[in-house]
Symmetry: C2
């Protein structure tokens, strides 16, 4: 990965740019994998955050088994790179079954997700029509957050039965405690993690009690994965944003600002000294419009501003954005000399609210190790 001959410093990169601190990213990958190993569960990273082949390779090398994806495009891209065990963790739309079939026929062990009888029957009909076996999982709702069937709902068994056909089989149940993003204490996170675990295990048990096999019990979100004290009955955990972390995660307490591996490099293009403003060339097109910290303990605006080494600068926050303009507000006592401290052409790095949203604004990552760019990794997006 290193390229010593043309190694370059950050100040040679065209801004705005997505910078990944490789040491921090690797520490995040190690930390999560070690925790999963300790809890005795398989780890299936959600690769929707980075959408990057090299990063998936690092996750698998660290011990991950299989991956989770949010689009069939991710499934295609990572299957091409040799990953077979892929869970598509969004309820499948009928029109997407043709692409899923194509992947499975090529040898991809793609698992689909449903949360209602109509979708289960639709997959079963499609599978029978094409005489190809499909593995389907059921989403369980443990916090009323989004999709899924409640563990005690009789419709759960109805779905499981609808999948008991010649060409379909139930692979497992899956829960995602999205509400964990709103918590901010270890105790609250442990409670959400336990509710996620207990609900998902109960759902699997209810299915098994009905005489239907349910091998996989999959839970996860970055905050619950890092908070669950034990995971009896769970076979695997999913988490995605941990690979970079972000300000939303820092607000939940599962990481510090120093753990955040992704930042946006930007260049100073102007000032409004009277307002204590520094204008930079990273607007919402670079940062995204995500304001995930707005309702949290610390509202970081559009991002926390750091120096070129990634150290947070006192009192500096990106408070407003336009498409290609970012306004950094200096609330420190030294605001009168922002023009001297941050002259035109100087650079800052901005930590994002939500790494998944910021990362997708870019087509590549600049990998940085000790202030030096050691590689460029491409990423993709789309459907």
């Amino acid at each position: 990965m290193t390229r010593p001959l043309d190694a370059m410093r950050l100040n040679n990169i065209t801004t705005p740019a997505a910078i990944v601190d490789v040491r921090k990213m690797r520490a995040n990958i190690r930390r999560m994998q070690q925790r999963m190993d300790l809890l005795g569960v398989k780890f299936r990273p959600h690769v929707k955050t980075a959408k990057c082949v090299e990063i998936v390779r690092e996750q698998l090398a660290a011990g991950a088994q299989g991956i989770t994806v949010s689009t069939l495009k991710e499934a295609e891209a990572f299957f091409k790179e040799g990953v077979r065990d892929i869970l598509y963790a969004v309820e499948v739309a009928p029109a997407k079954l043709a692409k899923a079939l194509e992947l499975r026929r090529k040898g991809c062990d793609l698992k689909l997700l449903v949360d209602n009888p109509a979708s289960a029957k639709m997959v079963a009909r499609f599978a029978a029509g094409h005489e190809h076996a499909f593995e389907v999982w059921i989403e369980i709702d443990t916090d009323g957050h989004r999709a899924g069937v409640q563990p005690g709902d009789t419709v759960l068994i109805e779905i499981a039965r609808a999948l008991q056909t010649e060409w379909t089989r139930l692979g497992g149940v899956l829960a995602h405690a999205g509400s964990s993003y709103e918590a901010n204490s270890p105790q609250a996170l442990q409670e959400i993690a336990e509710r996620e675990r207990a609900g998902c295990v109960a759902a699997a048990q209810a299915i098994r009690n009905a005489g239907i096999a349910c091998a996989a019990v999959s839970v996860g979100s970055t905050p619950t994965a890092l908070s669950a004290p034990a995971l009896p009955g769970v076979t695997e955990v999913r988490a995605g944003v941990y690979v970079f972390f972000d300000l939303v995660m820092a607000n939940t307490g599962v990481c510090t600002l120093d753990d955040i591996a992704l930042s946006v490099l930007s260049t100073v293009i102007g000032h409004r000294i009277d307002k204590g403003w520094i204008l930079v060339d990273a607007g919402w097109m670079a940062m995204s419009r995500d304001r995930g910290t707005q309702q949290q303990a610390v509202d970081y605006g559009y991002g926390r501003v750091c120096d070129l080494d990634g150290r947070p600068l006192d009192g500096l926050m990106m408070t407003q954005v336009n498409q290609e303009h970012g306004i950094i507000c200096d609330t420190s006592a030294q605001r009168d000399d922002v023009g001297i401290r941050f002259p035109i052409g100087s650079q800052v790095r901005i930590l994002p609210n939500h790494a998944c949203a910021t990362a997708t604004q870019f087509d590549r990552y600049e990998l940085v190790d000790g202030g030096e760019c050691i590689a460029t990794w491409s990423r993709f997006r789309g459907w």
Copy 2:
């Protein structure tokens, strides 16, 4: 543009997809151009909204003269397509001058923007060092919104003088009344438009009074362009989002929901009948995280939901999003039967808060005319 042989209906398109209603888009282009012709000013569309070659061609064919861009990548892409007169309307960062020089040397009449003496001197030094002539404009601040010099500020003349060198010349002044997005009455918009006009004309006059030529007086934002009753002293107007319009613009009153040419096609993947929720496969990855209507008269959540023909459906709004899940909430009296009215696999179209932000989440537009897809146009992004 038509392709009758493989013309397809919307329900054959992989979702989520960015749909452009070609009749509405053309009506929007005509309306703005006719208004500019009536006001007797040159129209220089801001092409950052669509970033699409075919759409720029339609704007030029309608009468636009030159374009405005927000990145040098746009300048490169549209210069390649034959557009020479390009205004890069973001204060230039020193490191971007090399790319600007490359474009100018190829024959692109690229105009740069600055708003402070340091940047003006920096461009002058660069131009002299490379013995290549640069045309530079100065941004004027008429509403304290973002960047720019106030019309009466003596620093304005300092910047203009710094550009009077062998290799640089001042091309004009530019104002953008970003605050117009926050207004919602014809009177308020007319006042903002007049402040934008008067401030920009005053700045040009102050420069001319100092004995320095200032040919171009450029103003614009979609709401002010459509509201200004007259533009004495102004030579050209810029506007971008008018090409598609969006919910933020509808809230300002300069368009109706029916004028919005961009929508996101998505497929129903689940329901939560107890909550009146319809789950679709368009989350923030498709809609963007833009919540531009949050502070406006009508908060449209993440978007207003329409049927396949683009007609708004009573009581349906996208209230929550995750990366690939959108939650549409039915607040109508019929919420109990959302599962029957919107079965799994059925499709809806969602009008976006902010067309610039939603469009950039896609790599292409599906052009629709009377419910039929007549073409696919690609778009780009990045820097």
